[in-house]
């Protein structure tokens, strides 16, 4: 078995195979999600649940996987930029909402930072962990630099951003339904503020307006959080 794995590993470690694997598994995830309509079965989760054990089993390290699929990671940047177009298409809906949008995201940012720090503290987290958790709701590049500035671990902060994105993407639509929110702007704003681009990916599924507002929320949340985190340090 080990001999066999050693023989095939170089082929399985190629860019062609790993990219095909990611897209294939994600496609499978889409089919499963569409067939079952179970919220928990997000294509991203399905892909992670299949790929992580696959890498462990075949002995391909994460560095190799990341190197060979980095084109996908790179595409995160352009996809955020492209939200500028979606926002332009939806601008008519935003007019007259500027003050409410800024107030809502500012309040959300305060609540998000304070609650994550206090909850972590309650469960015995240390300062390093709290500093890495505080910027969890913003996109990875902002979160990493904020965590660094306040004495957190950048790699951990990046992991928490992903966790927060997956969780918010999963439960966000359920929470919004539960509290009976009807406004499309409110829904998109909440998804993007709490769970950055992953929340936006889910908001895009709700509709173009929700998606556009969610994209806008990523930016506003990032700026507000960057301004608020220095004050949050007093809580650590």
């Amino acid at each position: 078995m080990n001999d066999f794995l050693n023989t095939v590993r170089p082929y399985l470690s190629t860019e062609i195979f790993l990219l095909a694997l990611v897209l294939g598994v994600f496609y499978l995830g889409i089919i499963i999600y569409q067939k079952t309509k179970i919220t928990l079965l997000q294509p991203l989760l399905t892909a992670m649940v299949i790929i992580i054990p696959f890498l462990i089993f075949t002995g391909i390290d994460y560095q190799t996987f990341y190197q060979n699929t980095r084109i996908l990671n790179f595409m995160l940047g352009p996809s955020v930029v492209a939200l500028g177009y979606v926002l332009y298409e939806q601008i008519g809906h935003i007019k007259g909402n500027v003050i409410s949008i800024l107030t809502a995201v500012f309040t959300g940012s305060v609540v998000g930072i304070v609650s994550v720090v206090l909850l972590a503290k309650l469960f015995g987290a240390d300062k390093i962990l709290m500093a890495s958790l505080a910027p969890k709701s913003v996109t990875t590049p902002i979160a990493i630099s904020l965590a660094e500035k306040t004495g957190g671990v950048p790699a951990l902060a990046a992991a928490f951003v992903v966790l927060c994105g997956i969780f918010g993407g999963l439960v966000g639509p359920i929470v919004l339904r539960r509290i009976g929110v009807k406004s499309k702007i409110a829904k998109g704003l909440a998804m993007g503020s709490a769970s950055h681009a992953l929340g936006t990916a889910r908001a895009m599924e709700m509709g173009a307006l929700e998606g556009a507002i969610s994209g806008l929320a990523i930016g506003i949340m990032g700026i507000m959080t960057a301004l608020l985190i220095p004050f949050a340090e007093n809580l650590f």
């Binding site: 897209l23 994600f26 997000q42 294509p43 991203l44 996987f65 990341y66 699929t69 595409m75 995160l76 940047g77 352009p78 996809s79 955020v80 930029v81 492209a82 939200l83 500028g84 177009y85 926002l87 332009y88 909402n97 409410s100 809502a104 609540v111 998000g112 609650s115 994550v116 909850l119 972590a120 309650l122 469960f123 015995g124 962990l129 958790l133 969890k136 709701s137 590049p141 790699a155 951990l156 992991a159 992903v162 969780f167 918010g168 439960v171 966000g172 929470v175 509290i179 009807k182 409110a186 704003l189 503020s193 709490a194 769970s195 681009a197 992953l198 990916a201 895009m204 990523i218 990032g222």
Partner: protein, 120 residues
């Protein structure tokens, strides 16, 4: 396709440059989004030129998270040490953030709708 991809990468690049100028606390992609929006709004570029590319990549954003998501395997040990604290804090705070933002925004909208009715 080519034209659209070019514009998106161009605005991404401009966003990155601007981000460097202001000390990097807002990432280049977010500034690129704002710049692309402004260019469209002030008719510097035509909406049709980016429409196809922008629509298709924003509709499939989640797949771009696979490499980062799989990266959680590297931090499994670090994360598992304080798993309870991390999970409770992230789950609780994310739900609170969603509720806060949604309710504040919806209240504003409701109040505005009521004011409009009173004026009639």
């Amino acid at each position: 396709m080519i034209r659209g991809s070019f514009y998106i990468l161009l605005f991404y690049f401009l966003g990155e440059m601007l981000s460097k100028l202001i000390g990097g606390f807002v990432p280049g992609s977010v500034l690129g989004m704002v710049l692309l929006f402004l260019a469209l709004y002030f008719k510097v570029i035509k909406p049709e030129s980016v429409k196809d590319v922008a629509t298709s990549i924003t509709k499939n954003m989640a797949v771009f998270f696979v490499p980062a998501g799989v990266g959680l395997m590297v931090y499994a040990e670090l994360v598992s040490k304080s798993l309870a604290a991390i999970l409770v804090a992230i789950a609780g705070s994310t739900i609170l953030t969603i509720i806060t933002v949604a309710l504040v925004q919806e209240n504003f909208e409701k109040r505005r709708a009521k004011n409009k009715e009173l004026q009639k």
